[in-house]
Symmetry: C2
Subunit: 346 residues, 2 copies
DNA sequence: TTGTAAGCGTTATCAC
DNA sequence: GTGATAACGCTTACAA
């Protein structure tokens, strides 16, 4: 027994009746205030809660309190580990602080993004963490008009001054390119994002700066567009490698394209790293799995997620100092080298 | 203007006042029923809604209706693409049906799982999709006692009769192993899950059956435990390859371990596929990125997520026929072969 | 066809 | 220290 089989919710009034106290007293026990309760009464109430298996109704509570513990997380694609890893960081901090996360996938579509924003407003979300899929500001305006705080993750929107978190994308590309420069390469191919956004432009600039610092002239022919699929990187790689004077090293705005290009090179029978070097930026795929090992710059996605949640919670609690609204997280080069014997040694 | 700058929520009563009608009429317009409204009144109401930027309060609505549109999704780890891909499928179907998804990460911890289940009960979740991290039935009992329907994804819990979705794990391992058998291999190593669960036992059995069907005696020495990390697969691979009489082909209960083992072999300078073949089962990493190309069995994670959401929604609507409660999704072998010239041709 | 009002399960302000 | 009771914003039965 103990478990009710009738489909009627057990309310605070039931608990009060069972414990022989008033409904208000039950609230005071549950919420540990705002008024004191004698230990004896408390015991009675807790016993009744236990016996009835009472669970407070968060809907009623939130309606009354005029606020919720829900935060919306809007990301373009959970299949992409860059986003899902961010999501994990957000969830972790949210959980630790008693918030729950409503997952919203825009699928890179503005209409879905707006639909979700309407939903979040309707559900009285306490705040939103958002990786926008465009620079459109309609959603931001909407959230602002309903006084729902939000944090922009990885992207920016023109004219929106909300807190933001990003990685040091310039440095990421700089480090990857510079690693290849240090290996002695002077013709370094770069696969760029097919449609440039703020962060991909920063990466292209990092590439250019690393070349410039090494007194290597920038050759626009060595920059080719990749794509969002692994195969796109492969195509871009083949394009670079079939040039009259092909690069001796390749990097890209993200690892999906780096790995695709590396794959293409391997299919072409080119020896890596003897005849061609690679360095990546770890957005999406897990470069760790590559062979030969691939040196990459790690983007701290999980940390970005955690930080954005911390920022949002501070914002909700109105405890966020103005000078801590915008953060750029540092990135780190991870050198991976093969201990494998040369290819033809066996 | 048009957007209120005072932090006061605009309610249905405000709309009614603005439109010069009663609050009830506003509801009838918003909900398209249950009573008819003249076109003229409707226009007035819609105009007022628009002018005031009114958004109905879902909390109040749900409290009144005694039900919500929220479904809980409990997964162990969103970083693992097996789970995040499932999540994407769930979200897609949920969105299409007007449900929102509350993401709950158990991080493989029972206490977190239970904490989330309590949260979902408290929030009056309409249903739950759950990839349990253990065979403990406390959470299931709790959900049942609150009459919250749930679907078990990929796992089963002893004594729990809720609807379930899984992949044909037996067939997956059978296909992978059989692929290697067809290539002529007779000593095939298998990396098993360190702690066996229902699905990993099915995979081990699939491996055994494929051997048996080819009249290859089962050699327990060829089965070694892997782990949850890429490195674990690498260690297991080295273990197999340093045997007195090593296998000529290797497969594993998941691709994390397959790829780890393949990596180990490459580090050891072993030529693939000339001296050693691999076949995988695509749970986690994206085998597509491997070189040499890796033949794998695709587990339809996205489809599993979609199907579980469809099942749950039918269950919520009490429209789920008894004979459609349990589903086992088919799996498919994806043969990938290299077009690369042999390793030493250059 | 439309208005009025009860009630969903809470919290918090009153009295006692 | 505790018990009644008025909101919170909505849906819907009932009244007009």
């Amino acid at each position: 027994m103990g478990i009710s089989l009738v489909k009627r919710t057990i309310t605070r009034d039931d608990v009060a009746r069972e414990a022989g106290v008033s409904p208000a007293t039950v609230s005071y026990v549950i919420n540990n205030g705002p008024r004191p309760v004698t230990d004896e009464t408390r015991e009675k109430v807790l016993a009744a809660i236990n016996k009835l298996g009472y669970q407070p109704n968060a809907l009623a509570r939130n309606l009354r309190m005029q606020k919720t513990n829900s935060i919306g997380l809007i990301i373009p694609d959970n299949k992409n580990t860059f986003f899902s890893d961010n999501a994990l960081g957000v969830e972790q901090i949210a959980f630790d602080n008693g918030y729950n996360v409503i997952m919203c996938h825009s699928a890179y579509r503005l209409d879905r993004e707006l639909a979700y924003i309407h939903m979040l407003i309707s559900h009285q979300a306490a705040g939103v963490i958002w990786i926008p899929c465009s620079e459109d500001s309609a959603g931001a305006k909407l959230l602002e008009s309903f006084h729902i705080p939000f944090v922009l993750l990885d992207r920016v929107i023109q004219g929106v001054t909300s807190p933001s978190i990003k990685a040091d994308n310039f440095k990421a590309a700089y480090l990857a390119t510079n690693h290849l420069v240090q290996l002695g390469h002077r013709r370094i191919g770069f696969i760029k994002r097919p449609v440039d956004l703020n962060h991909s432009i920063a990466r292209l600039n990092g590439y250019k700066q690393a070349l410039q610092d090494a007194n290597i002239p920038f050759d626009p022919d060595l920059v080719v567009p990749g794509g969002f699929l692994f195969q796109d990187g492969s195509v871009a790689g083949r394009q670079l490698l079939s040039m009259a004077s092909p690069p001796t090293a390749i990097t890209a705005y993200n690892d999906m394209n780096t790995i695709g290009a590396m794959h293409a090179a391997q299919e072409m029978g080119i020896r890596i790293p003897e005849d061609l070097s690679f360095a990546g930026i770890d957005d999406i795929a897990q470069s760790e799995y590559c062979f030969p090992p691939l040196t990459t710059v790690r983007i701290p996605t999980f940390e970005m997620g955690k930080m954005s949640a911390n920022l949002l919670i501070a914002l909700i609690r109105e405890e966020l100092p103005e000078d801590q609204k915008h953060h750029c997280l540092d990135v780190e080069l991870i050198v991976r080298e093969s201990t494998a014997p040369p290819c033809n040694s066996k």
